[in-house]
């Protein structure tokens, strides 16, 4: 499946932006070739089939799998690279690759940009002096509407939901699709962990609020299957409009 990635650079001149974008997209292409579970020849696919061992892979593969293992522990097993059977670290790779891409743009001097990879957003700095990035959160049952808007700088905003591609998040403890929630949105200092946590919280279902409440440095907004929204105390800092509801 394809994914739309948009990169919005607000501060570099044409030449610097070209260089930065070239590097970022070369990186994303490499990540795709290495970690795609849809390409039989990718290292992750061959590793999953035990055709090669970890030592044969790029060092990033070890890093990713180590991090995923820590995430599995940190999420009570709900973030699991084998939740669907085959080895699939996409739940971390997507956000992580965007986090690295953002860092690459920063190395080229960009302190104001926004990357959106299939609905997971990483912003750096502010879009213009005097205001924050305004990131709309899609309503889980009406994709043409927004359920809330968060105003952020230097942050990752990840949303995990079920409606778009069918029930694609599974509870690794039961093997069943997660159906308690419609969507989980997490705002954190970066997009790699926010994305993984959102996936895990979605799989947790009704257990998610208790876990999210205690999650440090990340604030959450949850819409359950009944259409009710719940959010952490700190989330209203990003979405002041929620305070008056």
């Amino acid at each position: 499946m394809g994914m739309a990635i948009s990169v919005d650079i607000r501060d570099l001149d044409e030449t610097s932006a070209d260089e930065a974008m070239g590097e970022a997209f070369a990186w994303l292409r490499w990540v795709d070739a290495t970690f795609s579970t849809y390409q039989d020849a990718s290292e992750i696919s061959r590793l999953g089939r035990s055709e090669i061992c970890l030592a044969d892979c790029a060092p990033e593969v070890s890093f990713v799998l180590d991090t995923c293992e820590r995430l599995r522990t940190a999420t009570d097993g709900y973030f699991d690279v084998r939740a669907n059977g085959a080895l699939d670290p996409s739940g971390f790779v997507k956000g992580w690759s965007v986090e690295v891409a953002s860092a690459m743009l920063a190395e080229h001097g960009s302190t104001s940009h926004c990357i959106n990879a299939g609905g997971d957003v990483r912003v750096r700095g502010v879009p213009e002096p005097g205001r924050l990035w305004n990131i709309g959160v899609v309503h889980p049952s009406d994709r043409t509407a927004l359920t809330t808007v968060v105003s952020v700088s230097d942050a990752g905003v990840a949303t995990s939901g079920s409606a778009e591609r069918g029930e694609h998040v599974f509870d690794p403890h039961t093997g069943a699709p997660a159906t308690d929630l419609l969507s989980v949105t997490i705002v954190g200092p970066g997009i790699a962990y926010a994305d993984a946590y959102a996936t895990a919280a979605f799989a947790m279902g009704r257990r998610a609020p208790d876990w999210l409440r205690d999650l440090p440095n990340h604030e959450s907004y949850v819409v359950d299957a009944g259409g009710f929204a719940w959010w952490t105390e700190g989330f209203v800092h990003y979405a002041p409009a929620l305070d008056s509801r």
């Binding site: 739309a4 990635i5 948009s6 070209d18 994303l28 043409t144």
Partner: protein
């Protein structure tokens, strides 16, 4: 200010293709004269800058190719002002299947929203709806390729 839109396959991708469409957003109105823009296929990083005349170029709408997926045909039309995307409309979306009906109603507006809203002043980007319709992106890419040809 730079804006680059790129549709391509990431880790969940079965098909790999890439396009990047760069433009300079116009501040308040899409009718304003565009600043110098550049559009280049990412697979050809060496391609040269395409200067744009100072006068606002006329809108032109280009139909993307019809792409078939398991639910049926998908085709979009992209409206350009110079090298800037100003509109994306859906010419064909499968509608004979309940699931496709849902996709037809919901997915197309999102990507359009993502492409267009990011150029508006109020909402910079949109989180959620990991829309991954390969067919939609392929048709979009085809239209952009045609525009650049």
């Amino acid at each position: 200010m730079k804006r680059v839109l790129a549709a391509f396959a990431l880790t969940i991708a079965g098909l790999y293709f890439v396009v990047s469409f760069r433009s300079t957003p116009v501040k308040s109105s899409i009718a304003a004269p565009p600043a110098p823009t550049r559009s280049a296929a990412a697979t050809q990083p060496e391609s040269t800058v395409a200067p744009v005349a100072a006068a606002p170029p006329a809108d032109r709408t280009i139909d993307g190719p019809t792409i078939w997926n398991q639910y049926g045909p998908v085709q979009v039309a992209v409206t350009f002002q110079g090298k800037r995307i100003t509109n994306i409309s859906t010419l064909q979306m499968p509608s004979d299947h309940p699931r496709s009906q849902y996709i037809s109603q919901t997915v197309a507006p999102w990507l359009k929203q993502e492409v267009l809203q990011a150029q508006s002043a109020q909402i910079d980007s949109v989180s959620g709806a990991t829309f991954t319709s390969e067919a939609y992106a392929q048709s979009l890419q085809g239209a952009i390729d045609k525009a650049n040809a």
